[in-house]
Symmetry: C2
């Protein structure tokens, strides 16, 4: 039987990537605060993540949630992330445990640890070494958007510990489309190809876990995020490597 | 020359403990959202931590801040900690870096890691073993108040990395007055005596650091928080032990 999944922020880049690859595999409930354009082939619940009563309705009968909604701008203001990312995630998690949702998959970000790159040894990512960022390190957000993502990880930890809901935080790398970014070494190191992205979220929906923080990147040369935990608990097997696209 | 220090939440338990021991050592600027009663001997700026313009005034010319203001209730609601603890800390940190404040000492809490005790091996605190909670572990808040404290630690990390302000997060144990709590093993394990509390915050004001998370507890038998980092970077030397008070 197909799992029913609520996908928040369904019209964003990650949401569209997931849907274009996995639409047939799940019964989707799509939510976004924007109305879909004519290019979008699926029905969407148009509601803001801050609209508590709409969220309570949206989670009913759902077994898993992929939570992508929020301000995705890496230069987002404090006021925006406070509402859209911090409050929004709390509203959704609260609704999820009240509705006995089993899995909460949270779109965290590489920006939750962006400041490891500013004054660490070795210098990243140019050094091309395997740097031991594996999800056990304390957050060091590179911007206020990253602060809001690190907050979501901690809130998820609390909701898991307190209520038992399975929570998986994916520190998503650089989702750039079919090919890695050009002239941007950091983005190449943490590129997440479209098919690896879809495969990863599929594994998040299919696997069992308590609480986890993993990195969502392809199998790139120069990657300084560990794929170990994602491989171990999710059986994530990325097939792409930015080095094969960038000369 | 005496350092000028802003003490927020000055009328609370920690604030009064600091002032009654260290009043002569610093030039204090005291802030609280309550008016002091007749028992309180010092002048207080009565302003809410959410009153941005009052906060901007309060930080002017200050070299250090001890930030105690916030909802201290361990069963505080999300709406309360969202405003008083999360927003309040952001307003103060933003004002602090704009005013070139050098040190920000943040009252975090043992509740930021309270859930380590629920399903860890060995069981805490009854096991009486030294459990390796030393400030390098990821937060596991035991309540939504603890979530807000873990948030403050991450926000402090960001402000340090981004703007260079020294930030020290003190995960305060159980401040119970002159003697440890009775019939409460957890509180005895993490007791912070009044004089150790004052000594600790004195050391926070006198020492140099970049960004740190330390535990603020006395030298108790059965303590399962490491004092190592506080000793190393602050030269913190607690003199009290709850076991000497509890039979």
């Amino acid at each position: 039987m197909k799992q029913t999944v609520l996908l928040t922020g369904a019209l964003g880049k990650v949401g569209r990537t997931i849907l274009s690859n996995l639409y047939e595999n799940y019964i989707w409930r799509l939510l976004d605060n924007r109305s879909p354009g004519e290019d979008f082939p699926h029905e969407v619940i148009v509601a803001d993540i801050l609209d508590s009563s709409a969220i309570v309705e949206a989670v009913k009968g759902v077994s898993s949630i992929i939570h992508l909604a929020g301000d995705p701008n890496t230069s987002a203001s404090w006021q925006s992330v406070l509402k859209n990312n911090i409050e929004g995630t709390q509203i959704l998690l609260e609704a999820a445990v009240n509705a006995n949702v089993e899995k909460f998959i949270f779109a965290s970000s590489n920006h939750a640890v962006g400041h490891y790159e500013t004054n660490s040894t070795p210098t990243l990512p140019e050094s091309n070494v395997h740097f031991p960022l594996d999800g056990t390190e304390l957050p060091r957000p590179g911007n206020i958007y990253g602060v809001s993502k690190a907050f979501g990880e901690i809130l998820g930890r609390y909701y898991h510990d307190e209520y038992g809901i399975s929570v998986l935080c994916v520190r998503i790398g650089n989702l750039n489309g079919e090919t890695p970014p050009v002239d941007y070494a950091r983005g190449q190191s943490m590129w997440l190809s479209n098919r690896d992205c879809a495969h990863l979220f599929d594994r998040c929906l299919q696997s069992n876990y308590d609480y986890e923080i993993i990195y969502g990147v392809s199998n790139n040369d120069g990657n300084y995020y560990s794929l170990g935990r994602a491989k171990d608990i999710l059986d994530y097997n990325p097939v792409d490597n930015s080095a094969e696209h960038v000369s």
